[in-house]
């Protein structure tokens, strides 16, 4: 019986029916990790002993039958920006090398309570700053579809792990597209929930008004299952919303008949690859055939999203990353004579180039004389982007577009030009600034590489995005396409 490539919901049924045990399943996933990890570099830390211990406990729970949940016994990977008690958590940075958190992130705690199995910590761009995973402070991740290409970023390790069969599902984090873009580039499903939907407690901070944790999965049903567990108010995060969490599975299969779906004309940006545009246009036709009415809409301030983001996110990051001083945890340089020199040396040698670039940009934008021109201006532009979405959602239920303007690009192709790298997130960033939710779902291949369809729904209407994505997935079946690395295991 071959279990590679199966989903959470399929495996849950098999676990409940005792066709397999969680222990066997976990060992099987580690066997795939042993086969392909050398090629993908999806993980920074593997937690084999912890996982097998959790799997044994899950098997007892499943035998007992009473409190088994859809995630009990399911092997899951966690992006390295999430704190896991007693497990090294570095956010992909050398400055946090050796840091072992004394507590769990709330999302980790919740998965643990459900009886999920933690495979390890996945590789990512340092402090989640990047769109290719080449900013990892350790090693770049390789795309399981083509090992010479990037998996996207910053949650590239989580994406590669799911796409290569090195995890059944994973958690990532998304500040400007860091879940959706790598999901698109590796042919999996990835969702950025609305800001405030999921607790950020124990998520190593990048930009605190934008960061959200979200699911990265093989299909939309799994995405709904994972979101169900991590969503909801957390007393440890005052910015997590007290709004009730709906049942994400209840309306999943309701279809799109009668729904109004908008296509923002600004999202077909110049520089979009023809193969990507063709796949996305075909996906939109599929949803029309399923009974949705499609109309063109305009989000006129979209072009300002990228420049506004590259003020707001670095400004917040420069403040958040001030805590890395080498005194309390992580790397300490040791060469400074005074405390200030020590800070400077530790931060110079502990942070990578992109992180330093963004700290400088953010510090500059917040410094005396520039605050009004940059930070305040960007926050006003953020209001314009929020209003764009509000107006569009008066007319339509959800928006459709590409997730990324390109398919996965070769490693090294954009590393010399930071601005070219930033442009990868041009159609995901508005969703973070606009405080809406978005999901990327596989919509075919262009030149043999995966393309993602992005479905954007209003804030706190994740069930709408999931429903549209599920209708598309069911009609297209593109989620069944596997990367060569996973295909080899399935065969």
């Amino acid at each position: 019986m071959n279990l590679h490539g199966r989903t959470i919901h399929e495996l849950h049924q098999m676990l409940v029916d005792r066709e397999i045990s969680s222990f066997e399943l976990t060992q099987l996933v580690y066997a795939q990790i042993d086969r392909v990890e050398e090629k993908t570099a999806a993980y920074l830390t593997l937690t084999r002993d912890l996982a097998l211990q959790q799997a044994r406990a899950a098997d007892e729970r499943l035998r007992d039958g009473r409190d088994a949940t859809p995630l009990t016994g399911i092997p899951i990977a966690l992006k390295d920006v999430l704190c896991v008690r007693d497990v090294q958590s570095t956010a992909g940075s050398q400055i946090l090398k050796g840091f072992v958190p004394p507590y769990n992130a709330t999302v980790v705690e919740r998965l643990d309570r459900e009886g999920a199995v933690f495979l390890g910590k996945t590789n990512c761009d340092e402090f989640a700053m990047g769109s290719s995973n080449e900013n990892s402070g350790y090693r770049p991740v390789h795309n399981p579809w083509d090992l010479d290409r990037v998996p996207g970023g910053s949650s590239g390790g989580s994406a590669a792990a799911v796409a290569a069969g090195e995890a059944i599902a994973a958690l990532g984090s998304d500040t400007g597209g860091s879940i959706r873009q790598p999901a698109a580039l590796t042919g999996i499903v990835g969702m950025k929930p609305t800001y405030g939907r999921v607790s950020r407690y124990g998520l190593i901070a990048f930009a605190s008004s934008l960061d959200q944790v979200g699911p990265m999965t093989r299909d939309v049903t799994d995405c709904a299952l994972l979101l169900q567990v991590i969503a909801g108010h957390d007393p440890m995060d005052s910015t997590s919303s007290p709004r009730p969490v709906p049942d994400y599975l209840a309306q999943l299969a309701s279809g799109v008949k009668g729904m109004r779906l908008g296509v923002p004309r600004e999202y077909f940006v110049s520089g979009m690859e023809p193969g990507v545009e063709a796949a996305v246009r075909a996906a939109i036709r599929t949803l029309e055939q399923q009974g949705a009415s499609i109309e063109e809409v305009s989000l006129p301030n979209s072009a300002y999203a990228l420049p506004a983001y590259y003020i707001i996110a670095p400004a917040e990051a420069s403040s958040n990353l001030a805590r890395y001083d080498g005194a309390r945890y992580g790397f300490q340089d040791g060469s400074g004579r005074t405390v200030i020199e020590e800070y400077q040396a530790t931060r110079q040698h502990g942070f990578g180039q992109e992180v330093k670039r963004r700290i400088m940009l953010g510090t500059y934008a917040l410094s005396a004389g520039y605050y009004d021109a940059y930070y305040l201006k960007a926050q006003k532009v953020r209001t314009l982007i929020i209003e764009d979405f509000k107006r569009a959602f008066e007319k339509v239920d959800a928006l459709l577009g590409a997730t990324s303007p390109t398919v996965a690009f070769p490693l090294g192709a954009k590393t010399a030009d930071p601005l070219a790298m930033y442009l990868n997130d041009i159609i995901t960033i508005p969703g973070n600034l606009g405080n809406v939710c978005g999901i990327s779902v596989p919509c075919g291949l262009a030149g043999g590489l995966p393309v993602g369809l992005q479905v954007i729904a209003p804030g706190f209407r994740e069930e709408v995005a999931l429903r549209v994505a599920f209708a598309y997935e069911s009609a297209s079946g593109f989620h069944n396409a596997h990367s060569p690395l996973l295909e080899a295991a399935v065969a």
């Binding site: 050796g98 004394p102 800001y195 008004s209 007393p235 005052s238 910015t239 919303s241 072009a303 300002y304 420049p307 506004a308 590259y310 003020i311 420069s318 001030a322 001083d325 005194a327 309390r328 945890y329 992580g330 300490q332 040791g334 400074g336 004579r337 005074t338 405390v339 200030i340 020590e342 800070y343 400077q344 040396a345 931060r347 110079q348 040698h349 330093k356 670039r357 700290i359 400088m360 940009l361 510090t363 500059y364 410094s367 004389g369 520039y370 940059y374 201006k377 960007a378 926050q379 006003k380 532009v381 953020r382 209001t383 314009l384 929020i386 209003e387 930071p418 601005l419 930033y422 405080n435």
Partner: protein, 100 residues
């Protein structure tokens, strides 16, 4: 007040690095200056947006003043809090001299 439109200078890069407590080499000053100039030129597109009639969004949530009861609850032990520290002295983090 300096003009944001004016080109970023090496001296400004050094000043910003000092503010951010980032050690920086001469080679990095030049590289960051050129890269940041390029990024800022792109960011200056924001000036075309008419924001005269809109308030700033400082935070995306509508919730305000989240309150809770002022009760003592369990927290990290001193031992746990110091576990990751490079240097400790008793129950304290140990740092280099504040003044020479």
């Amino acid at each position: 007040m300096p003009e944001p439109e004016s080109e970023l200078s090496s001296a400004e890069v050094e000043h910003v690095a000092r503010l951010a407590r980032l050690g920086i080499t001469a080679e990095e000053v030049t590289r960051y200056r050129d890269q940041l100039r390029n990024i800022l030129a792109h960011i200056n597109a924001l000036n075309q947006a008419d924001t005269s009639q809109v308030p700033a969004t400082a935070h995306p949530l509508e919730e305000r003043n989240v309150m809770r009861a002022d009760e003592v609850r369990p927290c990290l032990s001193v031992e746990d809090a110091l576990r990751n520290a490079p240097k400790v002295d008793g129950a304290y983090f140990k740092v280099k001299a504040i003044q020479e």
